[in-house]
Symmetry: D2
Subunit: 383 residues, 4 copies
Amino acid sequence: MVGYKFMGKAHSNAYRALPMFFPDAPAGPELKVLCGRDAAAVEQARVQFGWEEAETDWRRLVERDDLDLIDINAPSDAHKEIALAAAAAGKHLFCEKPLALSLPDAREMLEAARQAGIKHMVGFNYRFSPAVQLVKKLIDEGRLGQIYHFRAWFLQDWILDPDFPLVWRLQKDIAGSGSHGDLGAHLIDMARYLVGEFSEVIGMSETFVKDRPIAAEMTGLSAKGDKNAPRGPVTVDDATLFLARFEGGALGSFEATRFAAGHRSTNSFEINGSKGSVIFDFERMNELQVYFTDDADDVQGFRRVLVTDAPHAYINAWWPAGHTIGFEHTFTHEMLELFTAIHEDRQPSPNFVDGVKCQEVLEAVDRSIAERRWVGLEEMQEA
Amino acid sequence: MVGYKFMGKAHSNAYRALPMFFPDAPAGPELKVLCGRDAAAVEQARVQFGWEEAETDWRRLVERDDLDLIDINAPSDAHKEIALAAAAAGKHLFCEKPLALSLPDAREMLEAARQAGIKHMVGFNYRFSPAVQLVKKLIDEGRLGQIYHFRAWFLQDWILDPDFPLVWRLQKDIAGSGSHGDLGAHLIDMARYLVGEFSEVIGMSETFVKDRPIAAEMTGLSAKGDKNAPRGPVTVDDATLFLARFEGGALGSFEATRFAAGHRSTNSFEINGSKGSVIFDFERMNELQVYFTDDADDVQGFRRVLVTDAPHAYINAWWPAGHTIGFEHTFTHEMLELFTAIHEDRQPSPNFVDGVKCQEVLEAVDRSIAERRWVGLEEMQEA
Amino acid sequence: MVGYKFMGKAHSNAYRALPMFFPDAPAGPELKVLCGRDAAAVEQARVQFGWEEAETDWRRLVERDDLDLIDINAPSDAHKEIALAAAAAGKHLFCEKPLALSLPDAREMLEAARQAGIKHMVGFNYRFSPAVQLVKKLIDEGRLGQIYHFRAWFLQDWILDPDFPLVWRLQKDIAGSGSHGDLGAHLIDMARYLVGEFSEVIGMSETFVKDRPIAAEMTGLSAKGDKNAPRGPVTVDDATLFLARFEGGALGSFEATRFAAGHRSTNSFEINGSKGSVIFDFERMNELQVYFTDDADDVQGFRRVLVTDAPHAYINAWWPAGHTIGFEHTFTHEMLELFTAIHEDRQPSPNFVDGVKCQEVLEAVDRSIAERRWVGLEEMQEA
Amino acid sequence: MVGYKFMGKAHSNAYRALPMFFPDAPAGPELKVLCGRDAAAVEQARVQFGWEEAETDWRRLVERDDLDLIDINAPSDAHKEIALAAAAAGKHLFCEKPLALSLPDAREMLEAARQAGIKHMVGFNYRFSPAVQLVKKLIDEGRLGQIYHFRAWFLQDWILDPDFPLVWRLQKDIAGSGSHGDLGAHLIDMARYLVGEFSEVIGMSETFVKDRPIAAEMTGLSAKGDKNAPRGPVTVDDATLFLARFEGGALGSFEATRFAAGHRSTNSFEINGSKGSVIFDFERMNELQVYFTDDADDVQGFRRVLVTDAPHAYINAWWPAGHTIGFEHTFTHEMLELFTAIHEDRQPSPNFVDGVKCQEVLEAVDRSIAERRWVGLEEMQEA
């Protein structure tokens, strides 16, 4: 595994949880090598997360014969190089989102994975919430009918303070994009998973705070900065919104922002169909609100379904009814799909195809913003 | 109508709304005489509320031939005398709760009403919420099954400040009791209406703030007092809780308090039955939460039913689906029952019988507190 | 008053409530003449709503000397003609939204009102919710800081059934537009009131159900139709979404739809500023969710403020703390502004200027949809 | 560790998570021996949960020199014997609640632990929710003022079906009690932790379904039974409610039931103090509702605090702000206290003293039910 910060910790935990909670999974991981550039830090993480060895150069991992799978959760700008080399070496790949910094890069990675005949997966973990699985089931079984509306928003407020420092996630050359690629990507994948492919989009974006104190240490989501430090330009979007049409006829509305005071991490969507609706908010991930038009006319209303019962996805592996799970569990479910797919000799879902298609939508939105017009997804295929 | 403060205003509004919103009601009021002790104040109220005449002595109302109905919403200690006189004169009666300050008084009023052959009603207005009507319907139709639990609480915080003045509602000789009779009475009536008769009770009560500044003016719910004024003893309960068994086998839990910070007026109950449950909070009176055990097993959950659709009680009289009503509307519905019952020559519901039975439960609780033991309701019959 | 259906009933109720609940209002109405085309129906409404006279030709109202104010709540296509004639006759005007079917018409009405020197008001009643008044106050006092985001949605589901008949609200020549003008107009006015003027917009719209059974009787929101009747084309939008930029720099997202299953009438918005946020949902109109960034760091969170306390707008006129009001009360508050403004010899707010500006945004969105591009509001001024 | 079912799994997970998420903890576990009566099942659990050895006789554990700590989560009727033997052997003890089947047994266990000079802890895991820690902090810092009310309810519905089989939790000789000891015990401990000691109680209880089909296999919370099997008597309570007074003057209301349709596991409480209130529901364990009386008067309301920020207990060990945790995390926090206390040579909290005091309240309630009177806690000391 390359990377040992937020995502490295989440993945390590998932790998460790898999055999304990899903003992019937057909395959599972051995935690062999953890890789990062800072030798001391990666060694500390190795001990903490329970890996056998530590390594500072990812190339060594690629060269080893005893590794079957490489998990890439290093900063986004490093994804491509590692993935190409690992694919060439025939390693299966798990890559955190965003797959790459650009659509051509993402396609190159997908092509390399196809050429190598490896299994590949991309880390859209929110799909693996029991509530989202229930939505998928309701839609697939036709219980929501024809889908008319998908509206989604991912609201955060961690950079609301104008003196919050200029961390790497605010720099385009490292992060690729801001709220759009970081948060919007999750919404796009969710929409594709549940409603289907996009046909056209138009967006707008804004950087509310144009420059920020340069941080001594460029870390992740949180950073202690000196507010009197020299300031550098923020080169990514603070907020991006877009409208969309789906191939199936539904209308979409999307909003990703880091400037929504009071929202630590509100990742939410609503779907309205001809036979019912669902509302989901990841802050209350153990719940799904569900409405059906065919309920008796005096008791129609959104049901607050606690998705912690036996009929709900993954739940039998965890705790009795009514006992909730949290954010980290989505990764365990994700890894269950990864190892099950490898065992069954099929591609996991979501895989690099989904990574590429998400990137197409992200860049179609970027283009629509730059050119102030609707952009059809077929334009991205041509590109 | 005798009384022109909070309840006098609510009743006046209801009388005026009745012909406009329920034009098919078989009968309705003419607003003849408004009565109160303060001539200037009652005249002002007369103009404001739209009554034809003002009067300062309720005895004059009783003597008049052109009045068919007397509405009593004067302070609680005046109810009995007015009611007895009015009944003797053959006037129909609408009396605000509590019917009287004591059970013997309440029984005397009921007996007088029966002797006079008049129609009598008591003001438990919360029954007339569309959501409560829906609960009643669900129970009557067996859709909740056998009732196991009724839990209810009426939480307020208007006297939380120890320097809030000693208004009449805090004095036993005028108010009869504190939170118990004021708030608990509503819960008791709701329980009787929905679950049936009580069989036994045990309670506890407390007066957290033992004395308060004597108020220059003894008004109702709000008062501007001088916190440095001499203090007098609070002679009613600040909070009363009790447990109960119902004749039908259900268990009940009740709490009324004026010391629940953050609760302006949370009048709420939950009922659990063998086939389903309901949760109601009057602060969100346009909603009812409903659960059914026979919902499909992957989408079980409490439904948030907005009781503003055509199938819900009273709603066709008001606004289109999704447009809410408020506190005052319960009184209009209450008056609809009053005039409909008079027209149909039957007793309205709830009537003085319900006032007496509510008083029996209130006093059974009082006795259980005084004697620190369970008190069966049959003891109250014997009394 | 011209019109006696849904809005005619709401206005009548407000006129009647004004002197009772706001006895200190400097002026108030006399309910002289109610006008509608169907003589029997209007006479029935006259009696029910408490008007002195009934009339079937609105021109007679304009001609009378004893009327100072004309209230126009007839179907939208009749607004202009009545308003022009009434203005010419020097009558003050209250006109329901939308002001007119088109921007030129709306401007003509504004110009006529200005020429006549009359007072004019337009019926954006949602401004007059106590919760909205609190938002306005928080913004004006700088307690939310600089506004970054305004997102709003008005979701209904009353025509979700494809066999719901073709009522007048679904016909462009009578209604002007569909969800956009009916629901979106309220959101636009709310945005203008709270966040300020729009600078540019881009939208999309859809008619999901293209034809419907022709209704025997063309009524309003509800209709019993024959699903086997011949079908006619729906000529208005079922849903319209748009993105916007405001002059002050905020980003806006808007959605109006009649195809959101489970939403009877969810009229909701959220505002995010540099110092705080608010969330409002008219289905829970007695509540406002408020967040402040400067709360102590261990207890930050959205507060559920019950806007029924003395410090909240209009509340002292109604009931004690914690006792809720409903939809109809917004109209009473609206009429309070109307009569207060007339008395103070100033224009009410909102007035025809707001009606025109709302129409500018509506039509800018329409143009952006037709031409598939961003439309600046300055284009509408030029038009 | 003795026991490997629901609690055994939860504890194993916590032991494994401790070093990963709390690497700075001064001490941590080695997972040596897992013990259970069924050799095959315990061996399977050993592999799944990651223990070194499996054992079928708990006496062997006590005899071993290489074990410092025994974790007892076997069925309740086995707690005492194991604990006494382990204490005699000088092993530290972690024992799931209830500590024992009776107060004398619990006291004997405490006395044995004291005599042995070992560290002892009892598993009231809900204390270790970040939200509960915040409540504790608010109370300790005086931010809620004087506590007036504590009301709590633990509502489940897993045996609502009268044909649900007669599992061991429904048999008094194994389980000790029903809803009271299973669910009520958690509420009692929470009350003691937050509000202080009880002074007197009075309760009532009921077994709604008197007999059930005898289950072929006597398992835990869920069981597949044959509804046509012979039926045996349910010997525990389905629901127990009680009122209480606390030494500090607060009033308490408690309800535990397994017959609350729609509530899978609603473990909830509210506290009202002179300066504020809190509301907690474990189904939304990442949230705490908090109200303060000194908020500005126009924005008073319960705050929905997402307890996932840096200032909240334990959170820095997990994920960034806004990313939730679940039920199992409370055990990890619990074990952190256990090992920290052992390292610091102090008793963990809660320990066997808390187990005994909880049992005193449980049995005081039982006695109050049997004798139909208030029972003071001082009676239990005398016993």
